[in-house]
Point group: C2
Chain length 195, copies 2
């Protein structure tokens, strides 16, 4: 049986964007994408977004540019802050349920961290769905489904119950890893668990 | 002229201990050890020790064990918390002034993160000095020198003025790096600046 990586993330989180760009290069492992509401994780744990501290925010902007150069990916800090990503996260869960997650997921991250879009705006989400060739009406209606709302709440609560306090948070079995900078440790854990 | 790394650290900081263990392996660079009082940095920036958040503390203990294994070094979380490291940091500055920093520095980190000692206890500092073959009476007297106290204050204030909000904070020229996990970026910056 192949080793599995559980990837708890939010489209609002730039370090989630960074980690997400590297997951498929980790090797031949199962990746379970688990959208979670970072605002809910922060509230549940008493944590605060790192950018709330001004010197840390200034540093993060340099740090994120360094990671983007290191990974060879495009990146631009989103100018609209804070953004409520509940609808975007629920949309990702609709896409998972409907078997079209792969067609939507990267577009949501790119809208946030390349194209400077506002993912809290349903009209923006509609544009992204249309560009992906997906059924925008049906999928936007589905984000109101109680099952979808419950699924996001479950992911968020499960992440907190398992020890998460920020994003991205990754699990290989019971082992938890926080941040894209821990991907070398994630890879080692996946390789060890896949043996 | 050789490239220079400025290493702002506190003996109370486990990630400073981790980074410190790797500095000499970065290459043939000048390392300027800049003891700073992390409590002062936290107060000046409004930051809090990461371990104040309980889920983060639980994670950090695993994370630090992973780094220690990765680096192949001994590590044990110190059980005495918080510890006031003002005397230890001033002692390091006395040692720098007196040309014996290399004989003392690693012993202070090891006392904190291998031997579970209390560096706020002057008797412990005396033991460390004696074990290092240094003049304990003279050096412990010197930590009260106004110049030494001022030097620690200067390092701390300079770190904050340049953007630091935690430890370890490293500079290569004007480029700032936070955390032992950024050492690969530090190495790249040193190599680029040394060319």
């Amino acid at each position: 049986m192949s080793a599995k990586l559980e990837f708890f993330y939010d489209y609002v989180s730039p370090y989630s964007y960074m980690a997400n760009s590297q997951l498929e290069q980790l090797g031949d492992f199962v990746i379970d994408y688990r959208p979670m509401f970072l605002g809910g994780v922060m509230k549940a744990t008493g944590n605060q977004p790192p950018g709330m501290l001004l010197p840390r925010l200034a540093y993060m902007l340099h740090d994120l540019d360094r990671w983007a150069r290191h990974y060879g990916i495009a990146f631009r800090s989103n100018s609209i802050f804070p953004q409520n990503t509940l609808a975007a996260l629920r949309l990702a869960l609709v896409a998972k349920r409907d078997g079209c997650f792969d067609r939507l997921h990267q577009r949501l991250f790119d809208a946030m961290f390349i194209d400077d879009r506002d993912l809290s705006d349903l009209a923006v989400l509609r544009e992204i769905l249309v560009a992906a060739g997906l059924d925008a009406d049906a999928m936007l209606a589905a984000i109101e489904d109680p099952d979808i709302k419950a699924a996001l709440k479950t992911n968020t609560e499960e992440a907190v119950a398992r020890g998460a306090f920020g994003a991205p948070t990754m699990f290989v079995g019971d082992e938890m890893f926080f941040g894209n900078d821990r991907l070398p440790f994630v890879r080692a854990a996946l390789e060890a668990s896949g043996r």
